[in-house]
């Protein structure tokens, strides 16, 4: 509960915006682009740092929910400014089986384009995006950095998309 951080939260790209494309490394020899997932929903989970307590809980919850996300054919991508080797160690240690992308060089560039960078800390915000198969933002949320946003918002957004509800 870090109330102090509430006021400094960024405003995310609103629903209806085109999601900026990016290509980021997911392992030392592989990269992932947003356009790789055209035709299916993508969940972007920007988070501050590998191994920090809140991030670990949040990502463990998402790992637990992968089967739910898969029901919507949605791909989950975690993004932070940590390097790929750090991501590998984190994923192995915490049993995470979805891509963690490294917004490392130039540092935080993709986070910035998604209004999800905390200049004062040099890390990503705790920001969530749900993007549709055409690359349009359908839902976005920035959580106070010390508060795990849970997954309800993501699931509701995926359901709304499936039902074709206008945001």
């Amino acid at each position: 509960m870090t109330n102090a951080s509430v006021d400094s939260r960024s405003t995310p790209l609103p629903p209806g915006s085109e999601a900026p494309d990016f290509t980021l490394p997911s392992t030392p020899d592989q990269s992932v682009s947003l356009t790789d997932f055209r035709g299916q929903p993508v969940i972007l989970a920007f988070y501050p740092e590998d191994f920090s307590p809140v991030c670990s809980d949040q990502l463990a919850l998402y790992q637990e929910l992968l089967p739910e996300f898969q029901k919507f054919n949605a791909e989950l991508l975690g993004i932070s400014v940590d390097g790929v080797w750090c991501h590998l160690a984190f994923a192995k240690d915490r049993n995470l089986h979805f891509p963690l992308l490294s917004d490392f060089e130039p540092k935080g560039e993709v986070s910035r384009t998604y209004h999800a960078y905390r200049t004062e800390d040099g890390t990503s915000e705790r920001a969530l995006y749900v993007i549709d198969g055409e690359g349009i933002v359908r839902w976005s949320y920035v959580s106070p950095v010390g508060l795990n946003p849970g997954a309800d918002g993501i699931l509701s957004a995926l359901e709304d998309m499936e039902k074709g509800v206008a945001q």
Partner: protein, 181 residues
């Protein structure tokens, strides 16, 4: 635009038929926990709940639902199913307490020995665990928590509203008394 996560509320109401409940149905305040038997924070909350229950007596109704995070806690799912197996034989709370008092011993043989100690029909208990008879119930609990905004364990709700404050005895008791007033 952005759906707020503040003021999260319980989406699956407490029902006497389905839920595991201690305390009277007409108690002025209901404390509901989404918990994981292998989570150390839930273990730390366990005696706190006991204390709060002792202090509030019949004015408090306590409800427990499963929220196993198997990604971090490899034994949590089986422990949750074991508690549901005990519930099938009318001994949920006894098993719930044993599990929280033995959080580091949640292996298969441990669970069986707790079932024996509690005098359960062990053959039936084993069979249900092996066939994951209670997995659907555990998952239903879990998803009801996700949809209610549970973001970690223990997740507490007081009269259906998520308790976002700390859960030491004094803070929790104060929040419960406020809700009861």
């Amino acid at each position: 635009m952005s759906r707020t996560q503040w003021g999260a509320t319980l989406t699956m109401p407490v029902t006497e038929d389905r839920d595991h409940i201690q305390g009277p149905a007409d108690a002025p305040v209901t404390l509901l926990e989404y918990g994981d038997y292998e989570c150390p924070y839930c273990g730390a909350a366990y005696p706190i709940i006991k204390e709060v229950q002792a202090r509030m007596g019949e004015r408090l109704r306590f409800v427990f639902r499963n929220f196993p995070i198997t990604t971090s806690h490899p034994h949590a799912e089986q422990a949750a199913e074991a508690a549901e197996g005990a519930a099938q034989q009318g001994r949920f709370w006894e098993m719930h307490d044993v599990l929280y008092e033995n959080q580091r011993r949640l292996g298969e043989s441990d669970l069986r020995s707790y079932a024996e100690t509690l005098g359960l029909d062990v053959e039936q208990f084993d069979k249900e665990l092996a066939e994951h008879v209670h997995a659907a119930r555990v998952r239903e609990d879990f998803m009801s928590g996700v949809r209610s905004g549970v973001n970690g364990t223990p997740g507490f709700y007081i009269n259906g509203a998520r308790h976002d404050d700390s859960y030491d005895v004094a803070t929790l008791l104060a929040a419960l008394e406020r809700a009861a007033a």
